[in-house]
Subunit: 215 residues, 2 copies
DNA sequence: CGTACTTTTGAATCGCATCAAATCTGGTGG
DNA sequence: CCACCAGATTTGATGCGATTCAAAAGTACG
């Protein structure tokens, strides 16, 4: 039969792909060949709430958001990923608990979950690396919660530069409007706060890079 | 020598302890005997930022907060645990990145990290269960972030009952003031919002239990 | 019974959301 | 090349909701 099939368990058109170094170091060689490349144009859904996870997605370039539908039907952003796994917590889930949306043109590496899971059970060293990755994710999420607990936009911005920035500089790769959503504030409030912080010589701004004046 | 020694690797006073069912099911039998009970009176620090992790703590009763020191020296609550692991993300860390504080009298089970880590490397099924536990933690944290992104106290309260409650009822075991901190709002705002929601027959309240009227 | 803490209500203030609108930007097609 | 459009960026005005400060009432505990 010549029907198109996107399942990872159809061996008829397996294609390996160049892996980012971080992913190559994490995954055992066995899995390297089973990874595939994926491309999603802006505004494409990568997966939907309720669907059965078959692939584990690793964002190589672009940006993906995880979204749930709020109580009033409005979309709420759970997470934003520019580099790294999406939905790593759905490894053992029978269905997704949120949507994944490519908010710009995005390329990913797809790993078949069945193989990934089997390999985690078989290879303790790999499982250990995977646990380390999840530990990092937990820490990052806790910092994000800490940031969202701050009452003023100013505090959130400074905390962001402090905790997510590289030696005093944070790069807002996908624009300030997107950053505002991540910080849980309106874009107007963020623009105003940045302007005020810049005028007060607390931060500097250039090409979407926010730098703390005194690191 | 008769010096007191709290290290898990001093075999002279090993004492096993009754484990909660959830913990017993997670840990391999090998580790059961190496667990110890711990008791921390209210306001005791369980560990400090910068210290080397030797024990993994599982809260059995009471309440523990993870705290970091904010930019202005004020303590910021990263997380609140009434039941489950504290600092599970520090499994492989050489030092803690926050303080743990018993905010009421608390009992914990302590597991020696060295043994825990060794067993994770040796027992793939255990590693798999551990990964499942971390996956749940990641999901819970994402929901917490989602909640903190909501602008009104009302939305946060309803979201809390929705996502953390048992069929429409959330139990604020350690008081509403503590809950306010978890929701990232002042206790005054929480009291007022709860009163308003109750008057509007959206929720009911009894003995620290918040119930959604229409589940 | 006094102390410490939580719960509750009141009043004033401030920061952010909201609505509105202007400018700027990059990209597309005539 | 210019007209045009969609989206990001920016500034302005207004109102609401939460913070803040204050104080009273309730509760647990020694």
């Amino acid at each position: 039969m010549a029907v198109a099939n996107d399942s990872p368990y159809d061996s008829s058109h397996m294609k390996s792909v160049i892996l980012p170094a971080a992913l190559k170091a994490l995954l055992p060689p066995t899995l390297h060949a089973r990874c595939e490349a994926g491309r999603f144009p802006r505004n494409d859904r990568i997966f939907l709430t309720g669907a059965r996870p078959e692939w584990m997605f690793y964002v190589v370039s672009g940006e993906v958001t995880l979204e749930r539908t709020g109580l009033q039907g409005e979309p709420v952003v759970l997470q934003r990923t520019r580099q790294g796994f999406v939905s790593e917590a759905s490894l053992k889930s029978s269905k997704y608990h949120c949507d994944a949306l490519a908010i710009v043109d995005t390329t990913v590496v797809k790993i078949p979950i069945r193989d990934l899971s089997a390999e985690l059970d078989r290879d303790p060293a790999f499982a250990s690396r995977w646990i380390g990755m999840l530990n990092g994710e937990v820490r990052r999420l806790r910092l994000h919660c800490e940031r969202l607990s701050m009452k003023s936009v100013k505090d959130r911005v400074l905390h962001l530069i402090d905790t997510e920035g590289q030696n005093g500089s944070y790069t807002a790769a996908t624009g300030l409007k997107s950053l505002a959503g991540e910080l849980g504030v309106t874009h107007e409030a963020l623009y105003r706060t940045l302007a005020a912080l810049e005028k007060a010589h607390v931060i500097r701004r250039a090409e979407g890079v926010l730098s703390s004046v005194r690191p």
